[in-house]
């Protein structure tokens, strides 16, 4: 409804618009860190009245005529990226690069050269699809995206397959971790950072460093086995160097993205619209990663960034890995990990609100008050 203004309104129920659609009655939905970029007004092409939300799950209540695999009554988790399954990119498992799901692809092409897949509830340049912070959502390509949950695992354990678990996992996978040897530094211990920390450890990282300034976030990462570094109290670069025998971490993960704190220069420029993103963490990570290391970026950037030490990246031969998560690729393997008890993703939930109090939930999450790390909304309340 405008910058920092979300409202709960009664709207009519979504209906099937295309033959491969289904309608999901939502049982759990969450607020993502990237929703805060929308909330704070840093993502262009949002319109008043847009329905937010891209982390949701529920029960299929209606299917389109061309849906073959999914059935009414299926309990599903919905990936936040929308993919067709038939294009070159989908066939190469590059699901978030799908060619065929963004009705506003021309808009994205104008900005980015080419359009990636559409996303739920994430501005019109990404398709303008109504999101899942709602009681019902229309989900295109019902046979391609939504994964059926056959077991009786509670929502909180599987909901995050929709985004943050695969996003953290892909960020860690992109680090090319050599089990028992690699060291990984994770900037930002929000929900994606938390999953990146755990994923890096699951993939066998010898050491994982977790960087943040919120004590409760650092504590949560530490509980998983990471080495916490409070960036408000120490020189991150020097400390990382010291902790890695002077080499620097083998991989750096920027799980913060475009609204990093710590640089007045960028904050002012962003406010004045001279710069779209605040790449403070990106700069620090580029400098800190070891020679020949990997910089993995799950944090969202949407536009122009200033003063990126590209020379440092070049001089050290750093590999950049980034992009929207290819969620579909990870659904099955990560669900299996949850089923086998290797990880319980519900650890990240600190707050629950009824959907009717979404405005308050957004404020709590944005201000990180009350130790807020992850909010789940109950659409029935």
């Amino acid at each position: 409804m405008g910058k920092r203004r979300v409202e709960v309104q009664e709207v009519r129920e979504p209906r099937i618009l295309n033959p491969r659609d289904c309608i999901v009655k939502i049982t759990s939905t969450a607020i993502c860190g990237s929703d805060l970029h929308l909330y704070n007004g840093f993502v262009p092409t949002m319109e008043k009245g847009d329905i937010l939300g891209h982390e949701f799950m529920g029960e299929i209540v209606e299917i389109g005529p061309a849906v073959k695999l999914r059935k009414v009554g299926d309990r599903v988790v919905v990936p936040f990226t929308i993919a067709c399954g038939g294009c070159h990119h989908c066939q190469r498992q590059e699901w978030s690069c799908c060619d065929n799901t963004n009705p506003n692809a021309a808009m994205a092409e104008l900005i980015n050269g080419y359009s990636g897949s559409a996303l739920f509830g994430y501005s019109h340049a990404f398709g303008g699809y109504a999101g899942g912070q709602a009681q019902y959502a229309r989900v295109p390509f019902a046979d391609v995206g939504p994964i059926k949950i056959e077991s009786d695992l509670p929502d909180a354990k599987v909901l995050f397959l929709s985004d943050i678990f695969p996003t953290g996992y892909m960020a860690a996978e992109n680090c090319a971790i050599d089990p028992g040897r690699s060291t990984v530094a994770v900037w930002g211990c929000g929900p994606v950072g938390q999953f990146a920390v755990r994923s890096a450890l699951l993939l066998g990282a010898a050491k994982v460093f977790a960087i943040d300034r919120q004590p409760e976030r650092l504590a949560m990462a530490q509980a998983a086995g990471a080495y916490p570094l409070d960036e408000s109290k120490l020189d991150v670069h020097e400390r990382l160097k010291e902790l890695t025998g002077g080499r620097g971490p083998d991989a750096a993960i920027d799980a913060v993205g475009m609204e990093a704190h710590g640089s007045l220069y960028d904050t002012v420029k962003q406010r004045l619209k001279l710069e779209q993103d605040r790449p403070f963490v990106l700069r620090q990570a580029i400098r800190a990663v070891r020679k020949g290391g990997v910089l993995s970026i799950p944090g969202v950037y949407t536009g122009m960034v200033d003063k990126i030490p590209f020379g440092a990246a070049f001089a050290k031969g750093v590999t950049f890995k980034m992009g929207q998560t290819h969620v579909h690729r990870y659904l099955r393997p990560l669900l299996e990990m949850v089923q086998r008890g290797r990880i319980d993703p519900s650890f990240v939930v600190t707050h629950r609100f009824p959907l009717s109090r979404a405005a308050e939930a957004y404020e709590t999450f944005r201000d990180r008050t009350d130790g807020c790390i992850k909010v789940v909304l109950d659409p029935a309340a």
Binding site: E10, A66, G86, Y129, A381
Partner: protein
């Protein structure tokens, strides 16, 4: 997915072949656009869709009607700039190589004379089919109008790109993506609606 080729003005007339299908329009003031995409379907299938000329109404975004007259002739009606007037023309297939190429031009007397071709070529490594559409036309109102049209989505290059995009989605994904008809919040009565919604007990 689009080729990076931008519309080029062809000064002094469009003489000589512009593609292997020799599409040209007679007048000296033509605009040419070329757009391409790759579709993970066999060329024969894509060709067959395009050859059934009435199918094209599904993939052209702006409203148009297409009536098949004969195997090589069709009657078209669409709105055109400036001012979204309704114009009609007859289109003739002038070259037809099954699974490879279709070329067409407008019959004598068309208000906007144009000629076009669509080529279907296997992509390297046999990963799908490269579909290239070339269109050459005499912009109504001459060069100035063409420039104005370029600044809006009415511009031919964007229309060809959009048509190809929809063709690709329909043949590859089985449907054209849309959000038309989905619910949205009420943005009009900003303040009042908010209070209403907050006060109302939700089911």
């Amino acid at each position: 997915m689009d080729s990076s080729i931008t519309p080029t003005r062809r000064r002094g007339g469009a003489r000589g072949p512009v593609t292997s299908s020799k599409i040209t329009v007679p007048d000296g003031d033509s605009v040419k656009v070329v757009r391409a995409c790759t579709i993970m379907r066999p060329a024969a299938e894509l060709y067959a869709f395009w050859r059934e000329v009435e199918n094209l109404a599904q993939i052209i975004k702006y409203p148009c009607s297409i009536v098949r007259i004969s195997d090589t002739e069709s009657r078209w009606s669409a709105s055109a700039p400036p001012g979204d007037r309704r114009i009609e023309w007859t289109s003739l297939v002038i070259n037809d190589e099954p699974s490879r190429l279709i070329a067409w031009r407008t019959a004598e007397g068309a208000e906007i004379a144009h000629a076009g071709s669509v080529r279907f070529e296997p992509a390297p490594g046999d990963e799908g089919t490269e579909v290239t559409v070339a269109l050459e036309y005499n912009p109504p109102g001459g060069q100035f109008a063409a420039l104005v049209a370029k600044l809006t989505d009415k511009e031919a290059g964007q229309q060809v790109a959009e048509t190809l995009r929809r063709f690709k989605a329909l043949t590859e994904a089985g449907e054209i993506p849309t959000i038309e008809g989905q619910p949205a919040g009420n943005a009009q009565d900003d303040g009042a609606a908010a209070v209403d919604a907050e006060q109302k007990d939700r089911p």
